[in-house]
């Protein structure tokens, strides 16, 4: 087991705890940077897609995993980001300006959604965000002058200073770059007072308030930042699908985002990436499975969402901390090899005592 002896206060705020982490994350960075040399077009596209999901997941993780507010409506922010970006591009706004503008627009919408959401928690918030998502989808479907309604709208190619980034390799690097920036921003955010306030609110609203945290402002900030990250993913998503139509963003998309965050592991940024990998690989695995398994299994309609659902159920029952949680346990087992105790992560159950009196 590794003990880091701290000799300096600056070590407390370092991004990496020790040189081992620097080495492994450096290796990972090298691998993803050099990936276009080995991977073909198809897999590059899939990886770029995975990065986009991860960016959206960072947004949702800030809200669900760190602030403890559940949103079933994040597909709306993805859609708003995508449509705002595409509309700005068609109005002649350059790509480098349009992405931040669309992101900022999403942040504003997120802040506005956060305002009424302050009065709710848990299930009420989830259903309210779901309602918001349905209403946003309706607006997108019917505001034809801007969104093209059912016919959808074509998204212009991304061009930066005259360079067309639509090819698989440039687009891969674009997504990778924005994902790295998002992860870095989220990491820094979580080390800042704002991020600490998020976590305090998640763990106990009462104790957070008594430490002087402004609950209303913190929750609204969380919503705005979460919407901004998801909207940023939306701008890239619009280029990825190339043609925006209302049926690209549904309740299913919101649920997939939430599933990604839960399966990856709530309360960890690594979990977002694991979840995105899971979400990106599962369709491939199913496609391979279809060739191997008997035909009648492969022809079941709705097989993919069904498998998603089954995996989600299994994770929630057997590993509520997600893939990241499992990894942490495995690492701890190796760290403390002969002395690992199963009870380390035993969950504390709390039994219901409701405030409802009728």
């Amino acid at each position: 087991m590794r003990f880091v002896q701290k000799t300096n206060y600056a070590q407390d705020v370092n991004l990496f705890l020790h040189n081992g982490q620097r080495f492994w994350y450096g290796l990972l960075a090298l691998a993803v940077l050099l990936a276009p040399l080995v991977l073909d077009r198809f897999y590059l596209g899939e990886f770029a897609y995975l990065y986009i999901w991860a960016i959206a997941g960072v947004g949702l993780m800030l809200l669900v995993g760190y602030t403890g507010l559940v949103s079933l409506g994040h597909a709306a922010f993805l859609a708003i980001g995508a449509y705002a970006h595409a509309w700005l591009l068609t109005q002649g706004v350059p790509f480098v300006l349009s992405v931040p503008l669309a992101t900022a627009f999403c942040a504003i919408i997120g802040y506005l959604v956060g305002l009424p959401a302050l009065r709710m928690t848990g299930i009420y918030l989830a259903i309210a965000t779901l309602a918001f998502e349905r209403i946003a989808a309706w607006v997108i479907e019917h505001w034809e002058s801007v969104t093209g309604g059912h016919f959808g709208m074509r998204v212009p190619d991304p061009t930066v200073f005259g360079m067309n980034l639509d090819g698989p390799v440039p687009f891969y690097y674009l997504c990778l770059g924005i994902l790295s920036l998002s992860l870095f921003a989220a990491l820094n955010l979580l080390r800042s007072p704002t991020g600490r306030a998020f976590i305090a609110v998640r763990d106990s609203e009462v104790s957070a308030q008594s430490m002087g945290i402004n609950l209303a402002r913190t929750k609204c900030t969380a919503f705005a930042l979460s919407a901004a990250f998801t909207g940023l993913a939306g701008t890239l998503f619009s280029h990825r699908i190339g043609y925006l139509a209302p049926d690209a963003f549904t309740v299913q998309t919101s649920i997939q985002l939430l599933l990604m965050v839960v399966v990856g592991g709530l309360g960890s940024l690594q979990g977002v990436v694991y979840g995105a990998i899971f979400l990106g690989l599962l369709p491939q695995a199913i496609a391979i499975g279809r060739d191997v398994l008997p035909q009648w299994i492969g022809e079941i309609p709705g097989l993919e969402p069904g498998l998603f659902g089954a995996i989600l159920v299994l994770f929630l029952i057997f590993e509520p901390l997600g893939i990241h949680g499992r990894w942490v346990k495995v690492r701890l087992w190796f760290d403390q090899f002969p002395l690992y105790r199963r009870a380390t992560y035993k969950r504390q159950r709390s039994y219901l005592r409701t405030e409802r009196v009728r």
Partner: protein, 318 residues
């Protein structure tokens, strides 16, 4: 929605049209109310939120579909029953309620019992996942094409001086009223019903005074699944049955919250409110708005009166 009635030259027509829309709204609202009843029942007793309630309704409708076919085949050999028109439907109805109640118990025992004591969010995600699984299972067994239930209520209409009321609408309203009455009596007067109320207020205390909390929970799930099945069978003549029909569960959810989550009469009232609003919005406001009217009502309610029409929360913040 029925633009046919949009003839507004005479006042009588307008009244008739309004009544007609009201009837459509009430019967649709009863369906929302029934599904919402299932939500509320489970929430009241176990403080869990079952997002798969709509999908349980879908499953119930499909099981009824298969049972009707089975009984049709069986009764062809039975002289007396074969001659009765609604016999196989009646048997299938009861059979479906039993099958779904058993399914509810299995679900509670297998999937939800391990989740007792977990945060509500985890249970919510779990039931969302469950909904996906149920949809895939139904798709695998019955296929994705919509099917019509062979119901004795389908097609027939009463004509009350120009006012046309379908049998199926009457069946929905009567069925809802009967179920609500039965539930009221059950919770008010039976021993186990009162035990359920106790378990819903304080699990640990109920356990200490000797209420079999686990069995009570299993029973709640059984009742709630049976109600979902009843809703599915009643709505089947109006909407066709297909694996995605459970999505109206989301609107029923809105209904439950509008009514005040945790209140049984609230569920029905909320369902009626949303059900009645829909046809009127469809007629008088821009097209497509009726699909989201339930959510607009929900958001408005959450902003203005978050505890719902019949609040059941005393101190707890919603």
């Amino acid at each position: 929605m029925p633009r046919v009635f949009a003839c507004r030259t005479r006042r009588a027509h307008t009244i008739l049209e309004t009544l007609q829309l009201l009837i459509i709204g009430i019967s649709q609202g009863c369906v929302y109310g029934l599904i919402a009843l299932g939500f509320v029942l489970i929430y009241k007793a176990t403080e869990m939120v079952n997002f798969a309630q709509g999908d349980m309704m879908m499953l119930g409708a499909f099981i009824a579909f298969s049972l009707i076919e089975a009984f049709d085949w069986l009764f062809a050999f039975v002289p007396v029953l074969g001659a009765l028109p609604g016999a196989s439907f009646a048997f299938a109805f009861l059979g479906t309620l039993l099958v779904m109640a058993a399914f509810g118990v299995v679900l509670e025992r297998g999937v939800l019992r391990p989740m007792i004591g977990e945060p509500p969010f985890a249970v919510l995600m779990l039931t969302i996942g469950l909904g996906f699984v149920l949809r895939a299972v139904a798709g695998a067994i019955w296929g994705n094409q919509p099917r019509a239930l062979d119901s004795p209520f389908a097609g027939g209409t009463f004509d009350l001086g120009g006012l046309i009321i379908g049998y199926e609408n009457v069946a929905i309203v009567v069925g809802t009223a009967l179920l609500c009455g039965a539930l009221y009596l059950f919770f008010r007067f039976t021993r186990i019903g009162i035990a359920m109320q106790a378990a819903s207020q304080n699990q640990l205390a109920a356990f200490y005074v000797g209420i079999p909390v686990k069995r009570v929970f299993a029973l709640v799930w059984a009742i709630s699944a049976a109600i979902a099945a009843a809703a599915g069978i009643l709505v089947a003549p109006v909407n066709l049955i297909d694996p995605l029909m459970g999505f109206i569960g989301i609107k029923a959810f809105a209904a439950a919250i509008v009514g005040g989550f945790g209140s049984l009469p609230g569920a029905i009232v909320g369902g009626l409110l949303i059900g009645i609003a829909e046809p009127f919005v469809a007629l008088h406001l821009p097209p497509g708005l009726s699909e989201v009217s339930a959510f607009v009502i929900l958001l408005a309610m959450l902003v203005v009166r978050p505890q719902g029409i019949f609040p059941s929360l005393q101190q707890k913040k919603v």
